[in-house]
């Protein structure tokens, strides 16, 4: 096997995106994604069974499209990689089943990797197809999507990742979806809230910052909670409606978004300070949120922290990050996974690769 710049195909099916990516070392060759988001829109959130069915139908075409985009033959691959977890169990299993069969049919080694660490691994890639670069370490990583909200301390991408904190209830992306519904906006909520917040006053309403009081910070310094915030928004809107007063949607959206972004960035910057790590990496679909990028940029600059934000196409769930992480594992000399691993919906970040 080529251990200098291995050609790896990565399969990602942990949520509602069927992702197939192909990398050669740190160079991105293909990043193909089929999303079942439209099918979930009528339900206001990702429905696991709908997502899993969509993965099964999208897998073949997405694999073919990625191979065509990368202009490589399956026989040329050095390895196949797949997300083992965390994520939706039924969705993960489609990718695991496909990856194992593909690896066996090709006689290629298989690497089962961690989805969250994959988000960090995406940073080595250049979305424009450039040569990529080694990841600068150590780094704090803030991963925010509809499925997860996690803060990691990454000392070694392939050997030493620590979970500092995560959401204890809703993921941040979920909170955006739920508040969008409260405001009568369609799914997915993130872009809708972003749009609605334009021209709104982020200081109009002081919504609660979850787990940010001194007593909470003692026990949950790096954990997140968005359920109380969502309820506070709902209560505020209901009281307005009950009093037959108009709901200032722009102000509510801007104030809610500010509360989410404030907590996310504050805790991430705290982690950088506490750990003496002058680097913050963002990942996950919520990175698309303009205000999150703005506030992170401002506060990192003020605190002397280098902020890294991969291209959005590499922040949302994708197969290229899975391939990139596996390539890093191969380059670091790690052997392949056995064929016995399963889908682990709660795989801890310390399990960077599943044996």
């Amino acid at each position: 096997m080529n251990r200098d710049a291995p050609l790896v195909l990565g399969i990602e099916t942990s949520c509602d995106e069927t992702g197939v990516g192909i990398v050669r070392g740190t160079r991105l060759l293909a990043n193909t994604i089929a999303s079942s988001m439209d099918e979930h829109a009528r339900y206001g959130g990702v429905v696991p069974e709908v997502a899993a069915r969509a993965h099964l139908e999208a897998m073949g075409p997405t694999l073919e499209a990625a191979l065509a985009e990368a202009q490589v033959e399956l026989a040329d691959l050095d390895a196949v990689a797949v997300t083992s977890g965390p994520g939706l169990a039924g969705a993960l299993m489609v990718g695991v089943g496909a990856a194992k069969a593909l690896a066996v049919s090709l006689g290629k080694p298989l690497y089962a990797v961690n989805h969250l660490v994959g988000h960090v691994g995406a940073d080595v890639l250049d979305a424009a197809g450039g040569p990529g670069h080694p990841i600068e370490l150590p780094t704090i990583a803030l991963l925010v999507s509809g499925g997860h909200t996690s803060l990691l301390h990454v000392r070694d991408l392939t050997a030493d990742v620590e979970l500092l904190g995560e959401t204890i209830d809703d993921a941040a992306g979920e909170a955006f979806d739920k508040v969008a519904r409260i405001l009568g906006l369609p799914y997915p909520g993130g872009p809708q809230i972003d749009k609605a917040a334009e021209g709104g006053d982020p200081a109009a309403i002081r919504f609660p910052r979850g787990l940010s009081l001194p007593k909470d910070l003692e026990r949950h310094r790096y954990d997140f909670s968005f359920s109380g915030l969502k309820t506070a928004v709902a209560r505020w809107v209901e009281q307005r409606a009950d009093a037959s007063q108009p709901v200032p949607v722009a102000d509510v959206a801007a104030s809610f978004r500010e509360a989410v972004v404030d907590v996310l960035v504050s805790k991430a910057v705290n982690a950088c300070r506490d750990r003496g790590v002058p680097r913050l990496l963002l990942g996950g679909g919520v990175v698309a949120n303009r205000r999150l990028r703005e506030v992170a940029t401002e506060r990192c600059a003020a605190a002397g922290i280098e902020l890294r934000i991969p291209a959005l196409s590499l922040c949302t769930d994708n197969g290229a990050m899975i391939a990139a992480l596996a390539a890093q594992l191969i380059m670091a000399g790690h052997g392949p996974s056995s064929l016995r691993f399963g889908a682990d919906s709660t795989l801890p970040v310390t399990d960077i690769q599943v044996a």
């Binding site: 899993a52 169990a89 069969a101 593909l102 209560r235 209901e238």
Partner: protein
Amino acid sequence: MLAIDTSAGSSVAVVDLDRGVIAEKSVDDHRRHAEVIGSLIAEALEESGVAVGALSAVAAGMGPGPFTGLRVGIAAARAFALGARKPVVGLVSHDAIAFDAYRGGHTGPLLVLTDARRRELYWSHYAGADDAGLPTRASGPGLAAPDELPHVDVERREAASVSAAALGLLAELTWANGRPFAADEALYLRSPDVTLSAGPKRVTA
């Protein structure tokens, strides 16, 4: 031909029209499809001594079966076929059970049943086997509660597992006789469990 079925347990076989069943590997566990599928394929191939390139096609049991496990086998069959650059053919998993029954000497109508969980059964009704030995499905597959099954007068065959060897031999015969295969879609027979919500719930009394 390589045959894969995960509509009940997980079963993988390598079969040939002339040589019959060359290798079959199965695990009856109804929960661990994703864990075992890779090893089953690798072991069946190794035991058969048949090279991937020498296969003519991949046969996939399309169900009916509980969704999560069923998908693992179909995803594996399709991905294996893609990797091997071979065609994939789909079959109704119940047809393999009926095929086995008729090969074993059963004659006349047959009602094949498998567990659909939630106190329901998947059923398929067969009139008999044709000259080629292929079961002729008269109706189904369908889904029903045990006391609401159709064709109450027909002899039943309730199966806890589906043999990929039977599925593969059935595929070989179907192929050799130029008969149509099943549609290339998973037979879930149930809609995803989702309820459309009627807007946000009130949080204040």
